[in-house]
Symmetry: C2
Subunit: 193 residues, 2 copies
DNA sequence: TTTGTCATGTAAGTTGTTACATGATTGG
DNA sequence: CCAATCATGTAACAACTTACATGACAAA
């Protein structure tokens, strides 16, 4: 049911088509709740049936495909407020990567070390993205309005999380006697290509 | 498919019954990959059909219920090694809590602040649990064997994550002009009961 | 006598993933 | 001419959740 809540939030911020929402779930809100376009269209259809949204058809002017713009009804906004009043249930965290690290005594150690290096790079890149985003959208965090503050706080959480992930990878590589210089393979390949 | 991998790791560490695995997924490995007993029994049945495990029936000696002890076959161990050779795909993170914080401009601000306080408490408790676990099982991390090291590294990741979560909650509460003293409700209730 | 632990499952429903499908326009 | 972008969906399958079901023993 929770994709519905994420869509409620996104539509409250700004009415959108299914396609628009798909792009939003590829970034911003999607960093905290991922979803594919198939899921989004299915849930939007249900939300329409439940009277949480209205649809306005917009013709593409013969040039672009027609689009359906969804916006929240009063019932939709009500549902959103209700949800914010419920305490968030315990989240079920799942990290395939953590399980794989723990599999090291029974698997291919070198491959897992290489995977740690890879994960470090992925999360370092995500961290850079977030930091750039903060600089762009929130240059003066001390003077944010009540409406802008929450999005900044969520971004701060993302920054903390990614930074923590990168530091964890570094700690693992140090403990395993491997650091970034252990993987000249990747470097050689990327420079020679 | 990934619950299968988590079960492969857990059975590689120690053969177990479905019931044993359920308890393990309530702690230790379960902190990084959650699963209920229904999921576990279903996947075990499939793994048996696929020849990844063997079952040894153990009678409860008339006292306890009979149990089926699962252990990995050579094929099961092979499957595990193969999996460690595959790079971990991008993980889809989902945080209902982060989405809810972002819903603040459209919802009940006081309720969300109370939820942040609650989340802080939950994660502070988890952090304490991890730290105690580290002290108990890994009193001298500098001298861990290759087989013990991975489990410690994963625990370190958990500690980092929970610590980061608590700090994030504190940052949010400070930015929202609320701190722990804002919730005398909970304190009053817990002391008066 | 009721609650908790041990131990296994079935059934139904909701989500999430992967693959398939269409069709026009724009840019290289 | 080929790939990418815009825009919407269907279908099939896999995974996950919630509820229901059984039955014995031990302890409070």
């Amino acid at each position: 049911m929770s994709l519905e809540h994420a869509i409620l939030v996104s539509l409250a911020e700004q009415p959108a088509s299914g396609y628009d929402l798909t792009r939003r779930f590829d970034k911003s809100i999607g960093f905290f709740w991922s979803a594919t376009h198939q899921q989004i269209y299915r849930v939007l259809a249900r939300m329409d049936a439940d009277g949480l949204v209205t649809i306005r058809r917009q013709s593409g002017g013969g040039v672009r495909p027609d689009r359906k713009v969804y916006r929240l009804t009063t019932a939709g906004r009500g549902r959103l407020v209700e949800w914010t009043r419920e305490p968030t249930p315990g989240e079920t965290h799942r990290s395939e990567f953590a399980v794989k690290v723990r599999a090291m005594p029974f698997g291919d150690r070198a491959a897992i070390v290489a995977d740690i290096v890879r994960q470090r790079a992925v999360h370092a890149e995500q961290l850079d993205y977030y930091v750039a985003d903060e600089r762009r959208h929130f240059p003066d965090p001390a003077r944010l309005s009540d409406d802008e503050l929450p999005a900044w706080l969520v971004l701060r959480g993302g920054i903390r999380q990614e930074r923590g992930y990168v530091e964890w990878c570094d700690e693992m590589l140090a403990a395993l006697g491997a650091d970034a210089t252990t993987t000249p393979d990747t470097l050689v390949r990327s420079t020679s290509s």
